[in-house]
């Protein structure tokens, strides 16, 4: 999945750069969050990639604003949960048909991973509301 391009025209300082990148990545994550509700493999995959991009951006800009680390933490857990669901999807796609018991177990684990991701996404959204990226953007505009 190609990343949403970040428009950086007029950016002069590190905070302005952080604000533009984070703003774009948050928007991307929210746009793809529907995949979590649908619970299908493709939608979950795209959402996971978007979460990963946002997490890396949050961690990268934490040297400008340390509290971004706190926002990144639930995204790391969310990425793990979605990754574990993805691994089970891959294994289920190549599992011999005769292995019904194993298939049943993997499918159950997969659903549990997605349930965990739903809870983590709710927590991550709460943190995003207080995300200092909004502040960084404002600071850049109020010099």
């Amino acid at each position: 999945m190609k990343p949403e391009p970040v428009h950086l025209g007029g950016v002069t300082d590190g905070f302005g750069l952080a604000a533009r990148v984070l703003d774009t990545r948050v928007r991307e994550v929210r746009r793809l969050a529907g995949g979590l509700q649908k619970r299908d493999q493709h939608g979950l995959h795209d959402f996971r990639i978007a979460c990963k991009r946002l997490r890396y951006a949050l961690e990268r800009f934490a040297d400008l604003e340390a509290s971004l680390e706190t926002v990144a933490a639930p995204f790391a857990l969310l990425q793990d949960a979605l990754g574990e669901a993805h691994d089970r999807d891959v294994l289920l796609s190549i599992l011999p048909v005769a292995m019904g018991q194993t298939e049943h177990r993997l499918a159950g684990e997969r659903e549990a991973c997605v349930d965990r991701a739903v809870v983590l996404w709710a927590q991550a959204q709460e943190l995003l509301l207080d995300c200092p990226l909004i502040v960084l953007e404002a600071a850049s505009n109020h010099s």
Partner: protein, 155 residues
């Protein structure tokens, strides 16, 4: 009450929730974008190059994972700032390095998962797939090692 996602930066600032941060971000405290960016790119480049060297010296599962993680972080940075600091050639190299490790990592993960989740009553049915994944893991790791030996991410 509106949806929480509808809160805009202006509204939050009007409500005065972030006064502390606004005070701390004086103009002279802000690093110039290009200076910060140059430092960040160099940091990620060194991390990937270091992970690559460690994997080439000894190709373990953990070291392969480190190469992939460092590569993803670097790629993410290059994509995020492409408009400000285009580096198509470097981005291609980083993407290629990731692709060269995909097969090895996939085989390892799926092999471990199958080993841990196979129902005891179906173990005999899983044996051919376990053997195939094990062979795929060895071959893909060998190939990743061979290709990463030649890869360079330095300037």
């Amino acid at each position: 009450m509106g949806r929480r996602g509808d809160l805009t930066s202006n509204r939050i600032l009007r409500e005065g929730r972030f006064k502390y941060f606004r005070r701390t971000l004086a103009r002279n405290e802000r690093p110039p974008a290009m200076k910060w960016l140059k430092r960040a790119v160099e940091k990620e480049r060194r991390a990937l190059e270091g992970a690559r060297r460690r994997f080439v010296s000894k190709s373990t599962e953990e070291r392969l994972h480190s190469v992939r993680t460092a590569g993803r972080r670097f790629r993410s940075l290059l994509e995020d700032v492409a408009e400000l600091a285009p580096s198509a050639k470097l981005l291609r190299r980083v993407k290629r390095a990731a692709e060269q490790t995909d097969a090895a990592r996939d085989a390892t993960i799926i092999l471990r998962l199958l080993e841990n989740s196979v129902d005891p009553s179906e173990r005999h049915l899983a044996e051919p797939l376990l053997a195939e994944l094990s062979a795929r893991e060895s071959e893909a790791t060998r190939l990743a090692h061979k290709r990463l030996r030649r890869a360079r991410f330095t300037g």
